[in-house]
């Protein structure tokens, strides 16, 4: 892999479309980090989740380390209510099966689709109203 961008413009576009589709379907926020961070990948994911500020609770962060073939999916406190660890494992499985075949972008799109399908829930009305 030459130095430079991880994805082509078309691949980035496909991932961004999958993110917005997943968000519309499940009312959660998704983001995908791809890089080769040093140290603990889970800790890196927690830090990325923290960087989202107020959105962290409703967010799902996918951290992919292609160099070491590692993947972490982290859910914020509220997101974890709709997307339990088993559902995230299913999403991870659909991603890693494509990654093993060398298709990073396709795996991310498929994984986001799986995650949002499992996180689908009825929109909560009146949640912001005082008791």
């Amino acid at each position: 892999m030459p130095a430079g961008e991880a994805f082509s413009a078309g691949q980035v576009d496909a991932i961004e479309r999958a993110i917005s589709h997943a968000r519309a379907e499940s009312d959660l926020t998704y983001s995908v980090f791809v890089g080769a961070p040093d140290g603990d990948l889970r800790e890196q994911g927690r830090q990325l989740l923290g960087a989202l500020g107020g959105d962290a609770d409703h967010s799902v962060v996918v951290v992919i380390d292609p160099a070491h073939r590692r993947l972490e999916i982290l859910t914020g406190a509220t997101a974890a209510r709709y997307l339990d660890d088993r559902a995230t494992a299913l999403g991870a499985m659909s991603m890693t099966s494509s990654f093993a075949a060398g298709d990073l972008a396709g795996g991310i799109v498929a994984g986001l689709h799986t995650l949002s399908e499992h996180a689908r829930h009825p929109r909560t009305l009146h949640s912001g109203l005082a008791e």
């Binding site: 892999m1 791809v34 890089g35 830090q47 990325l48 923290g50 960087a51």
Partner: protein, 87 residues
Amino acid sequence: MAGRERSGFGYRDAMSPAEILGWFVLLPFALYVLVSLLVYTPSWVRGPKYRPGLSWWAEPVWIGGTDLDAAALAEPVREGGGCSARW
């Protein structure tokens, strides 16, 4: 010996140096370029391909996230869930 005919094979018409260059150098080279383009164009269009097991040299990217430099200073979130996987 004088008057004796030459034997062997030869071209019916003599070729000029320019024709020789065109037929035996430029044409094969053009074919080589054409075949190379046909082979490599699909992968150029598809973009870089990840090969599992080889090093990853691309810059870190966070699609759908915020600024990566700011994220390095963020406080980690401990609540929530998730999973780990390898391939």
